[in-house]
């Protein structure tokens, strides 16, 4: 019987950057199934970025240090493969859109990774058109990065990563520099890539109010370890709050009401959920 292996397999992962005394991450174990939308969150400095870097090979190939445990993505051992090999399977989108765009037109940036892989021009053009279409950036294909808003720049960065057709896209706080509307739009694009194309999403994010509706699972890290794991509903509780996670306000509201003695079946994670539940209770 063929058992489908998780597309991301992290076992007993620990990493200490060269020059630092303390490990940035310890005892990290996590599995992600193909097609899942996983959110990683936690207070600043808990090791989220380090985990992202381990997933696409930046650790240990770009950032040196002591690495323990194993990381397998799409069946490849991250320690044994070059970052360039892994780039076709795992894409990484960074916080600052500006420093991910190298060219003076969006479409050349989207083609950049494919050119690096020496793909034939016809294939490059096909993939560029496809990636631009999938992220809704066809209209800005000839624009220069400095002509775009940060939201558009981030979309362009996602297209550039998407063009390499990875099975997994990792995003490290991609909405940090974006205003609320752009943040919502970007996350919508990411969710669509997950839903329509089946791409596995590993998203590091603080703004849980915007991502809860999409997340299959939420992982919470604190001081280098994964301390909570589960569906958003399971995770948005007292423990996460005490760690310092910014829960969606509606979830917090229901926790507060629970403390007053009201009981609810589930703690809502979106405004819609909360509204429906309250309406039900107030009109019964």
């Amino acid at each position: 019987m063929l058992v489908k292996l998780p597309i991301i397999e992290v076992k007993d992962l620990a990493f200490t950057y060269t020059g630092l005394k303390k490990p940035s991450i310890v005892d990290v174990n996590l599995n992600v199934e193909a097609g899942e939308f996983v959110v990683l969150t936690g207070p600043s400095g808990c090791g989220k970025t380090t985990v992202c870097r381990c997933l696409n090979g930046l650790i240990p190939h770009f950032y040196t240090g002591e690495m323990r445990g194993s990381v397998r993505v799409a069946g490849l051992n991250v320690r044994e493969r070059l970052t360039s090999e892994l780039a076709e399977h795992v894409g990484l989108v960074f916080q600052n859109p500006e420093n991910q765009l190298f060219s003076l037109s969006v479409e050349r940036d989207v083609a950049f990774g494919l050119e690096n892989l020496n793909m034939p021009v016809s294939e490059i053009r096909r993939r560029v058109d496809w990636a631009l279409g999938a992220t809704g950036t066809l209209e800005i294909r000839s624009s220069a990065p400095y002509e775009l808003s940060s939201g558009q720049q981030q979309r362009a960065a996602i297209s550039a990563v998407l063009a390499m057709q990875p099975e997994i896209i990792v995003l490290d706080e991609p909405t940090s520099f974006l205003d609320p509307k752009s943040a919502k739009d970007i996350l919508g694009v990411v969710a669509e890539l997950n839903r329509k194309l089946g791409i596995t999403i590993f998203l590091v994010e603080h703004r849980l109010d915007l991502v809860s509706r999409y997340a299959d699972r939420v992982l919470v890290m604190d001081e280098g370890r994964v301390v909570l794991e589960g569906s958003p509903r399971e995770v948005y509780g007292e423990k996460a709050y005490l760690i310092g996670v910014g829960l969606p306000k509606v979830s917090m509201l229901f926790h507060l009401l629970r403390k007053e003695g009201f009981s609810f079946n589930e703690v809502p994670i979106t405004v819609d959920d909360a509204s429906k539940e309250l309406r039900r209770r107030l009109t019964s």
Partner: protein, 261 residues
Amino acid sequence: MSLKLFDGFRFTRRDTPVHRMDPRAKLILVATFFVGAVIFSNLLVLLAIFLVEIPVIASARSLRRWVRTMRGGAAFALLIFFMNLFFGGTLSLAIALTLRFIILLSSFSIFFLTTSPDDFGLALQQAHLPYTLSFTFTTAVRLIPTMAIDVQTIVDAQKSRGLELEKGNLLRRIRNYIPILIPLIISAIRRSVELAEALESRAFGAKKTRSSMVTLRMSGSDYFAVALTTVFLGVMVYLYLFSAVPSFEIPIKIPSLLQLF
């Protein structure tokens, strides 16, 4: 030297004959101005070269930007002018050499105002220069406006903490720039690291050869421009080799200041 200097080197997308020109043809054009400015010290020739450059800048609709670059480099131009007079040169020579500086500056300016760093990189690539070299260059050029913004941000932040750049004697003023330079260098390093991370993540350097979605192709008008430029270059070389240019001196004698010492 102020930040205005950089304005004349920043590429903006425009639809002008000069912008549309193949970067290689443009390079030959600009190199010709360059060669002409360097081999001649004759005021008339330099003036002629300068007068030919103006319509080129005008057709690129970049006159205003070019003027700003000239204003930015004015201090250096004046330095050249007075240094030449100081060491006993004639008025004609001083003007000629200042003009040379202006032509050189303008040549670079024309090229970079009208050529996107990407296209320039492509030109270098297609000339079979190693990719890492052309990429380094184009990235550096692309980062110039970004760095200029960083400088402004840093200056704003430090001025808001009471830093007065113009205050004090020369030594003090130099020291005043430390709170500007250090954050600038550090932010440049940070930016480089982030860029490097992004490059690695997009398989930079993965294969020995690299394909290119866009290739530069010379059009008929590009070949025509190259032909014209070659003729111009030929005429200049002829004039130079056979000293066929009338020498010209402005009939004003400026006493050498050096004689005072």
